[in-house]
């Protein structure tokens, strides 16, 4: 069994498994195939999971703060498929489409990192989008745009991600509120003896 290195630091972790070789992981997988119960016992010994959820609505994560969302203890073979890339945004905007042409669309951008920055106007090439995103480009459409880098096993890559907002149609609550507002406005402007009817114009 390979040593499980624990650094000397205060923030060391007892959950390090980086020294596990693939051969050993495959061996574990083989054991799992023959005995699921045994593998679960091994998994619990190897990877004690600590939930960081301080209450019921906190994110449930393994001790390493990784990305697995399952509440179960991950079986050892999951380590063969652990995450290999992370996107880090250097800049992030939210934007609204103002105008659309065949080759690009003009947008207004709002800086999400520094809200004091002024609004920007620019054009984004349609080529930046895949087919499913293109179908959402129309004046008034809301989108997110992040520029950053992605760390992968083969190195760091620049990446630009444009994603249009996908929300369902109006909720019943929103429709109810809109109706109430419309009725208020109707009365305000004099409908059905509303307040404005008291103001008489002309003779």
């Amino acid at each position: 069994m390979a040593s499980r290195l624990v650094s000397e630091g205060d923030f060391d972790s007892a959950f390090l498994l980086e020294e596990e070789s693939q051969e050993q992981l495959l061996q574990y997988a083989g054991e799992v195939a023959t005995s699921a119960a045994e593998s679960t016992r091994r998994a619990s010994l190897l990877e004690t999971q600590v939930s960081v959820a301080a209450s019921g609505t906190g994110t449930t994560l393994p001790a390493e703060g990784g990305v697995q969302t399952t509440t179960k203890i991950p079986p050892p073979w999951n380590r063969l498929f652990r995450r290999t890339s992370t996107f880090i945004a250097l800049q992030a905007w939210e934007g609204v489409v103002v105008e659309v042409s065949d080759i690009d669309f003009t947008v207004r951008l709002f800086d999400k990192r520094n809200k004091m920055n002024p609004e920007l106007s620019t054009a984004i090439s349609i080529e930046e989008l895949d087919d499913e995103e293109r179908s959402l480009v129309e004046p008034g459409a809301y989108f997110y745009w992040s520029v950053g880098y992605c760390d992968t096993p083969s190195g760091r890559k620049r990446q630009s991600v444009v994603r249009f907002r996908r929300l369902p149609a109006w909720t019943s609550e929103e429709i109810r509120k809109a109706k109430e507002q419309a009725e208020d406005d109707f009365r305000y402007f004099g409908g059905e003896d509303g307040p404005q009817t008291a103001v008489k114009h002309g003779g």
Binding site: F15, T59, A63, T69, T70, T71, G148, R165, E173
Partner: protein, 217 residues
């Protein structure tokens, strides 16, 4: 000295009474909340009346009958993650929701092991424990606070050891909100309002913490 953010993660957690079986990636794709291609490519672990777990390129969904968690570790998809949670609640507006967690996490990366150790010692000073423990170390600290607004709930900060990035600590802020029952309003709609209201605040909170630490280390 400085502390950088090596990665960020986002999640929305709902507590209530749910039907996990409906939360299939195909449902999300057919309702337009995610792309059709994302629904097709999703890695489905299980979809069952008791539990549903699947992962797409950027979204991880984990649901049981009392809890649904939408999570992304891809920073570019923070906004889309919020929209998926809001969209699902909009479509399932009569689902009872008792509480909403808006969660933002970050991996704070220090410049050296010494700086990370110093941070750990500041969190939990060790001399207090040295009589009982030969070599006390900090693995995890949880700090809770009342809210700074008029809503029911609390704020929970968790700092934990991590090996994902060198010299780093995992910092998680859980903005826990109780959904107050309203006579004319489905609780799912109240939950949507909570997410819309708290989302930016939750992100600002972790950035404020980062800015503070950057000044101290």
């Amino acid at each position: 000295m400085s502390v950088s953010i090596a990665a960020r993660e986002f999640s929305v957690v709902l507590l209530g009474d749910f039907n996990p079986a409906i939360l299939h990636p195909a449902w999300f794709a057919s309702t337009g909340l995610i792309k059709l291609s994302e629904g097709d490519a999703a890695d489905v672990e299980v979809v069952h009346k008791e539990v549903t777990i699947w992962t797409s390129d950027w979204l991880k969904l984990n649901a049981d009958k009392n809890r649904v968690q939408f999570q992304s570790d891809q920073e570019a998809y923070a906004g889309p993650l919020r929209d998926v949670a809001i969209g699902a609640l909009t479509l399932l507006e009569h689902t009872p929701v008792r509480a909403v967690g808006v969660n933002v996490s970050a991996f704070f990366q220090f410049t050296s092991q010494e700086q990370l150790d110093k941070f750990g010692h500041e969190l939990i000073p060790k001399p207090r424990w040295e009589k009982a423990l030969p070599e006390p170390k900090t693995l995890k600290a949880v700090i809770t606070s009342r809210r700074d607004d008029d809503y029911r709930g609390n704020l929970n900060l968790t700092i934990a050891a991590t090996t994902r990035f060198q010299f780093s600590a995992y910092v998680h802020i859980n903005d826990h909100n109780e959904v107050e029952p309203e006579a004319k309003r489905p609780s799912a709609i109240s939950a949507i309002s909570i997410i819309q209201r708290q989302w930016d605040k939750a992100i600002d909170r972790i950035h404020a913490l980062h800015a503070d630490l950057t000044g101290a280390f």
